[in-house]
Point group: C2
Chain length 461, copies 2
């Protein structure tokens, strides 16, 4: 047979993506049968009722139908803010072909410039628009870099637990996954010794490790790296001649006042560590939460122009990132400013979303932590809880124990989570990843169901 599971590219079989794996499939099947399903497996805030920012949607609405733009009075009558209309007009001037035309492969030039300005301002470091590609979500930036640098025997250091995009891509492109553990006992921090151990072990296996992935704020653990830790990772990377891929899509999702987001680009610049750094950002997370638009960017630093040209060539095969996502990326990096008509509403909407996330993180963590057998710290960042769950040592067949529990949980309650085994975890420890995105008025009843299912599950024979 010309096409069967066995004749596929074997890397396809190896690639696993737990966030959307068999548990989600089971849930979708139950949903088709009429069951109520609660998707807490994925950071998809608008699916769970988080509202979009009015400012973003007003402008998108106008850009999708630019004939409206000369009808200011009627638009205001419909509730549009005057600065949204002006902003949309300005964007049409900057990109007269509109959303229906392919842009340049790296993205619309004014958007790349706006991203460069955003980074410059955020970090107080020089940033060049030519090093920025606008992408369909951060995932496409990851695909581009990993596909371009992986050849046989190239190792990529990824944290454990990790966001499974990385292991999936590394397997798909035929690279070697070089794991380093995050230290659960110190709030899932990064530890130099664990990094060195991981690197040395790979070297002993004759793996040519070329890049380290760091996710900060972290998915799934919710930790936020201090400046010291970032500096340590950069020094480690420099010493071992590694590039850094800094997944910084949760940079706006920090919930403790004492924490602060430091970008790898900024710390590297300040410390004079000139190694190649790929920094990712996305419109899917933060307080924007526009996942469906697939917006984002990759910024590349300390990369030579010849390599940039090659990467641009590969980007160009897919023509360009979708234009709506490009616009959302633009609006993410150029929010309304004080004095603009939209400013007050924008600030209020942002505050409501972030305050609610802060509350929900705390409440759900406390609820989980109060269950005997489960321990869960309040996440400091990102959108996930990663509780440690004790599970009885019994025969689960071929499945890891946490997989068996998440399956039971879906079947009994409709609550979809991701087993820790999908992210990687230390042997004989079990975890779940749960987003803290449920609507606040539903948390109590959800947690009650969760608790009952857990207590029932551990009693099963």
């Amino acid at each position: 047979m010309v096409l069967s599971k066995n004749t596929l590219n074997p890397n396809v079989l190896k690639a696993e993506y737990a966030v959307r794996g068999p548990i989600v499939e089971l849930a979708q099947n139950l949903e088709k049968q009429g069951r109520e399903i609660l998707y807490f497996n994925i950071g998809n805030p608008q699916q769970l009722g988080q509202p979009p920012l009015t400012y973003v949607r007003e402008i998108l609405s106008l850009l999708n139908h630019p004939k409206l733009l000369n009808k200011m009075e009627k638009l205001q009558d419909l509730g549009f803010a005057s600065d949204s209309v002006e902003r949309a007009k300005k964007i049409m001037e900057l990109n007269p072909a509109g959303l229906g035309a392919y842009s340049q492969s790296a993205g619309m030039p004014f958007i790349r410039q706006a991203v460069a300005d955003f980074i410059s301002k955020r970090d107080n470091i020089p940033t060049d628009a030519k090093n920025i590609f606008i992408t369909d979500g951060a995932s496409k930036g990851v695909d581009l870099i990993l596909n371009s640098i992986i050849t046989d025997n190239v190792g990529i250091m990824t944290p454990i637990p990790q966001y499974p995009l990385y292991s999936a891509d590394i397997n798909l492109f035929g690279g070697k996954l070089v794991s380093y553990y995050l230290d659960e006992d110190s709030n899932w921090g990064i530890n130099r010794e664990l990094l060195e151990n991981s690197y040395n072990k790979a070297r002993a296996d004759e793996i040519d490790t070329k890049l380290i992935v760091v996710i900060n704020p972290n998915n799934p653990t919710g930790s936020v790296l201090s400046r010291e830790h970032i500096k340590m990772v950069l020094e480690f990377a420099k010493k071992n001649n590694l590039m850094v891929l800094a997944d910084e899509v949760y940079q706006e999702n920090i919930y403790h006042d004492e924490d602060k987001f430091h970008s790898f680009a900024k710390v590297a610049h300040e410390e004079g560590i000139n190694i190649p750094i790929f920094s990712l950002h996305s419109t899917s997370k933060g307080f924007i939460g526009e996942c469906g638009y697939r917006g984002g960017y990759i910024e590349m630093r300390n990369i030579d122009d010849e390599v940039l040209l090659q990467l641009l060539k590969i980007r160009s095969i897919g023509l360009c990132a979708n234009t709506s996502g490009q616009i959302v990326t633009y609006l993410m990096v150029t929010p309304p400013e004080e004095g603009d008509t939209s400013y007050e509403l924008y600030v209020r909407e942002r505050k409501d979303i972030l305050d609610s996330l802060t509350r929900k993180a705390r409440i759900i963590a406390n609820e989980l932590d109060s269950i005997e057998g489960i321990s869960c710290a309040t996440p400091r960042g990102a959108m996930y809880l990663f509780p440690n769950i004790k599970l009885p040592d019994r025969n689960y067949g071929d499945e890891p124990a946490d997989f068996a529990f998440t399956k039971y949980l879906v079947e009994q309650t409709g609550i979809v989570t991701v087993p820790g085994s999908g992210f990687g975890q230390k042997q004989d420890t079990w975890h779940l990843r749960i987003t803290f995105l449920p609507p606040e008025d539903k948390i109590e009843s959800i947690m009650k169901k969760f608790k009952k299912a857990y207590l029932d599950f551990i009693k099963l024979k």
Copy 2:
């Protein structure tokens, strides 16, 4: 150095994508310097003034800002058709999370079903929504299939000339390009003998050819395959145990009354040829021309469920196609119907676009054909002319002669075309690919500039 051109994945260096290669880069640099540049290198109709369909944009505008939906009177006052508003409401019911949420990885279920219904109705063949993935443009469908089936030594038959996405992807994924020539002397038709020769030559080289790519209507040649030819290709594929990838993105772009679009899926079904067929469609072409939205789908036929699951898993790594593109795909397959408020305007806009394309194809082909040294048939389909150009036999350095001419053409006139060498051509023949998308009122002056540049170029020493 950890990152340099030499340490990149060597397949990255091999992948070339002429449609956006060095000629386009040169043009973009000239544009930055203030020169007027005319982009005829790429099928990007809205960049050249083709208007979007009002129906599509009204609905998108509302879906981007659903708060408007309960203001029917004011919307009508703004010019919205009542059925657009109703349609948008209906879509919000079918997808309550809105455009800001990730959809299922294969696409929103109601859109997959609508695509299945569209194919069923178009071809009068049974079609199952589970075999349909909504993609970010057709390119992403190609990436998915080629990445999944290519392993070392797997050959992919592609036409010459071909759309360079195919050669780029085949090189990027490490496969073998197995070329078959289209027959310029019989209107670029497909010829069984040339297919067999190409296949046998690859077999002699111990290449394991697994799939044949067919582009119909054809990019870049503008030919449209007859039902007989499609049947012949299917029989050839069946005999040699090949899958078929049918790139049918130009199915609405047929300009001669005597031609008719036949899908590979339909002919295969009618002839009882049950081989795996991947069929691609896109919102970027046809009369919709919404390139920037990156909408499209892939339909997979005679593929077993285990393989479908693997392909879905790979799709899921990128989460989902952008939602705006998914909606445009939905609207493409469910246009307004007779009796709907929008119907008349929709039909008129469609007719205007297709009539204009028909006229432009003829006019530009005639103009080109009238230049001594150039021969150009009127394209029967797609969006491109592929004139045969005589170029003097002189020293062009490392560059193919047609590359040198397209470079000269940009420098002298700002007209951007793609050299035939980017698509493949028989040795010692030279071609250009030119879209026939220029605005009608500019064609005369453009052709005058083109002719002068050509006549000057062939006289150069």
